[in-house]
């Protein structure tokens, strides 16, 4: 249905895509795979009209086309769900979905009723249980991604490109999305699916195309490959997924949280956390799994002291009760958080690697009240070496690093504070398989060094791979606890699904 011929693209001299040819037939789901930086997103942006300047030709249903902007592509029938969220926070779900293609009546006045109805239909289809009038800023990241998907489904696109559509949503929504993809395939549409989650590709894709360093290196049917061979094709060598060597490492209680509760501040009195109690031993990796809206992120944020005014509960560290009213106090007490969204909450993107690493520990690199460049470089070099952060130099701006290396910079900043408890929220979101394994390895090494680690994740394989113990959250409560030997996908999911709807 859509054919790309000899596509090439450069960014200020750097070749992003080189002579890429491929064909996307209708009625099939095609997986595009490749490591971060292989050119997947660039290629999709060319196909959907975001980048009008490129070499080569695009042929759509037998005719050569050239899109000047995304709207042209959309009108011809090519829709895209972008990896980054492209939503306007202060507009409602309805307004975002219809942005630029509003339904108007014969007087050119917005037909709110029709749009409301259509939005409601889409939300029902995607089982997102919120009003179409909800502002985007009031939604969690996962819910926003569902809105992004709804946006792409609004028009009758013949080619639908999904660039990491599931990076922020939990397995429950993934199932819904997959059933929708099935429908699209059965209707004869061409679906392009990009994801780092290989398990998803095996479930949903019919064909694959491998991109490496801006070139197509291989393509074929998904039946012919398995997990290991596909990773090998992606990176050009073999990597094994790390799985945990289970051990009895827990050595004494570190953190004890009792009856932590949190209510929403905006007067609706909704309970976000309901008497959550948990214990963490030093040297232990505690995995917390929950579906969207279960209160995972809120739990970590509350422990860090971000919701001081609307929460209560008792936090004890090594037998000493803690008073945590703000992140400074948490960090002082030895609790740090690697947040879910590293670009929004983790890094100062415009500053360089060393500045980001030293940000929480400037008092350690002072000399006579002034910052010492030498000590700062030492600190940065220590962590770039020990965490294997790939950067040309500590003076590199973090925005130029890959996702995995950015994540390691956040981790370095947290570790520099010499924490006792390390909390990680979705530690491998949006980073490639290779970097993922490196992060898992780091987490395990750190726990062996005696840190208590809490890993919150919506990816079951991740939870199962790293955890010594698994807690499951649902609707702000802890609904189950499993040892690593008891935990499996079935019993975790069962505990995670909300009882009330």
């Amino acid at each position: 249905m859509l054919v790309a011929e000899n596509i090439g693209k450069r960014f200020s001299g750097v070749i992003a895509l080189n002579n890429v040819s491929m064909d996307l037939p209708g009625g099939k789901v095609t997986a595009i795979i490749g490591e971060n930086g292989a050119g997947k997103s660039t290629l999709m942006k060319i196909l959907s009209g975001v980048y009008p300047d490129y070499e080569g030709r695009i042929i759509f249903k037998g005719q050569e086309v050239h899109f000047a902007n995304p709207k042209e592509a959309q009108q011809l029938g090519i829709g895209i769900i972008h990896q980054e969220l492209n939503l306007i926070p202060d507009l409602s779900i309805r307004e975002n979905i219809f942005l630029g293609r509003e339904i108007v009546n014969s007087w050119d006045i917005l037909d709110k009723k029709a749009m409301q109805q259509k939005t409601q239909e889409l939300l029902n289809k995607l089982k997102l249980n919120v009003s179409p009038d909800t502002l985007i800023r009031d939604l969690k990241v996962g819910q926003q991604q569902v809105v992004e998907i709804a946006k792409a489904l609004l028009t009758d696109s013949e080619v639908i490109i999904m660039d990491e559509p599931t990076s922020a949503i939990s397995d429950h929504e993934v199932e819904i999305l997959f059933s929708i993809i099935e429908d699209l395939r059965n209707e004869g549409r061409a679906v392009v699916y990009i994801s780092h989650k290989l398990d998803e590709l095996f479930r949903i894709a019919d064909r694959y195309i491998v991109l490496r360093d801006g070139q197509v290196t291989e393509s074929g049917s998904m039946d012919e490959v398995n997990h290991d061979t596909i990773i090998k094709k992606m990176v050009g060598r073999e990597i094994k997924t790390i799985s945990k060597v289970h051990r009895e490492s827990a050595t004494g209680e570190l953190l004890d949280i009792r009856n932590l509760s949190l209510a929403t501040q905006n007067g609706t009195k909704k309970v976000l956390l309901d008497n959550v109690s948990l214990k963490l031993n030093s040297g232990e990796i505690l995995g917390i799994f929950g579906l969207m809206g279960a209160g995972r992120t809120e739990l970590l944020e509350t422990i860090l002291g971000l919701h001081n005014s609307s929460s209560n509960g008792v936090i004890t560290m090594e037998g000493q009760p803690l008073k945590i009213n703000c992140p400074q106090q948490a960090i002082k007490a030895g609790i740090v958080l690697v947040p879910e969204d590293r670009k929004k909450d983790g890094l100062v993107l415009g500053l360089d690697v060393k500045t980001n690493i030293s940000l929480s520990t400037l008092h350690d690199i002072q000399q006579a009240g002034l910052l010492s460049k030498g000590k700062e470089m030492q600190l940065a070099e220590k962590y770039t070496a020990s965490l294997c952060i790939k950067t040309p130099s500590p003076h590199q701006q973090v925005k130029n690093l890959s996702g995995g290396n950015q994540q390691k910079v956040v981790l370095a900043r947290c570790l520099a504070t010499k924490p006792k408890v390390l909390m990680l929220d979705e530690p491998t979101r949006g980073i490639d398989a290779n970097a993922k394994n490196e992060i898992y390895k780091l987490i395990m090494e750190l726990s062996e060094a005696g840190l208590g680690i809490i890993v919150v994740s919506s990816e079951l394989p991740e939870i199962l791979a790293v955890s010594d113990r698994v807690l499951v959250m649902s609707e702000g409560k802890i609904t189950a606890e499993f040892s690593s030997s008891e935990a499996n996908e079935d019993n975790i999911l069962k505990a995670a699904i909300p009882k009330t709807i």
């Binding site: 860090l304 992140p327 948490a330 002082k332 909450d345 100062v348 030293s358 008092h363 002034l370 504070t417």
Partner: protein, 324 residues
């Protein structure tokens, strides 16, 4: 490679190059421009704007803005002048408090600091956007200045006080010394201290800074307090130079200082910029003002030209950052 390197060097020094070309053009157009007297004159004129603009730079680096600097300057200057001239009389208690020159200067600067602190407190405690909070302070402080001076200038403050504004020390005007000390101190602050680092971090990403354990509110309050204090220093300088505290002193100074900050390459969305950039920006505006006067351009046209220069500076900056 060498071309892009050449280009980035050019970008780095674009303000300096622009200033050089401006000076070159003015010295060709007017024989009065490139004289020692005129040089000192320009430097004295811009020293006040530099003081204010340094404070403004710190505020803008945190992604804020301070519209009240001109009014804070006026009130601080007027309070210093009033206390110096009249002291405080409390006839009921049969009490008179006289002020030394140092006492009035300290009180003036404390006034500015208090106003700035109030700005910071309102902005952090009640989450009032800086634009609105300092817009309110702009009229509050101006009104207080009118009340304090009853609408009349406070003049004839004596030669000793006038030394600040008109005196020379080691062959350099005192005003220029003050500006130089403030520049040096603020460069150390921004490059060498934790506070400086926090200012850049907050402007770059406030969420990440909060999660890193930075006390955002404290840093912001300090920054607005510094901006108020430096506006007060400017107020003392202006008052001493004119030997008079004018009720409408510092009117629209906030615009000149924002212009200096912007021409100096500081991003209004925070996190990016330097003190030296702002100093260059202030010098460019000062030289431009001086040159247009020397060339007998009408004050009305001067404003038009200045506006276009600001636009040009920002457009060049945008084009450059796109090329990167």
């Amino acid at each position: 490679m060498s071309i892009s390197k050449y280009r980035s060097t050019l970008t780095k020094f674009q303000s300096s190059i622009a200033l050089f070309l401006l000076c070159l053009a003015l010295s060709l157009l007017s024989d009065k421009f490139l004289t020692v007297d005129n040089g000192w004159n320009v430097l004295r004129q811009i020293s006040v704007n530099i003081c204010i603009s340094v404070g403004m730079t710190l505020v803008v680096l945190t992604a804020g803005i301070d519209l009240s600097v001109g009014s804070m300057l006026a009130l601080s200057g007027a309070i210093a002048a009033g206390l110096l001239k009249f002291g405080i009389e409390l006839p009921d208690n049969d009490l008179y408090i006289g002020f030394t020159i140092l006492g009035t200067i300290v009180t003036g600067i404390l006034t500015g600091s208090a106003l700035g602190f109030f700005n910071g407190w309102v902005i952090t405690k009640f989450k009032v956007p800086p634009f609105v909070a300092t817009l309110a302070m702009l009229t509050i402080a101006r009104g207080l200045t009118m009340l304090w001076t009853k609408g009349y200038p406070i003049s004839s403050l004596g030669n000793e006080f006038g030394y600040i504004g008109t005196g020379w020390f080691l062959g350099i005007p005192v005003l220029v010394w003050i500006a130089a000390i403030i520049i040096a101190a603020s460069i150390i602050l921004t490059n060498k201290t934790s506070l400086g680092r926090y200012i850049y971090a907050i402007g770059g990403n406030e969420n990440a800074s909060r999660l890193s354990g930075i006390n955002i509110n404290k840093v912001k309050i300090i920054v607005y307090t510094i901006a108020g204090a430096l506006a007060a220093v400017g107020g003392i300088m202006v008052t001493s130079r004119l030997d008079s505290a004018q009720p409408n002193a510092g009117m629209s100074y906030e615009l000149d200082s924002i212009a200096a900050v912007v021409i100096g390459g500081t991003s209004l969305s925070g996190g990016r910029g330097t003190i030296m950039g702002t100093v260059l920006g202030a010098i460019i505006i000062g030289v431009l003002n001086n040159g247009l006067v020397l060339l007998d351009v009408s004050p009305f046209w001067q404003q038009v030209v200045k506006g276009f220069v600001i636009l040009l500076a920002v457009i060049i900056d945008k084009v450059n950052s796109k090329a990167e």
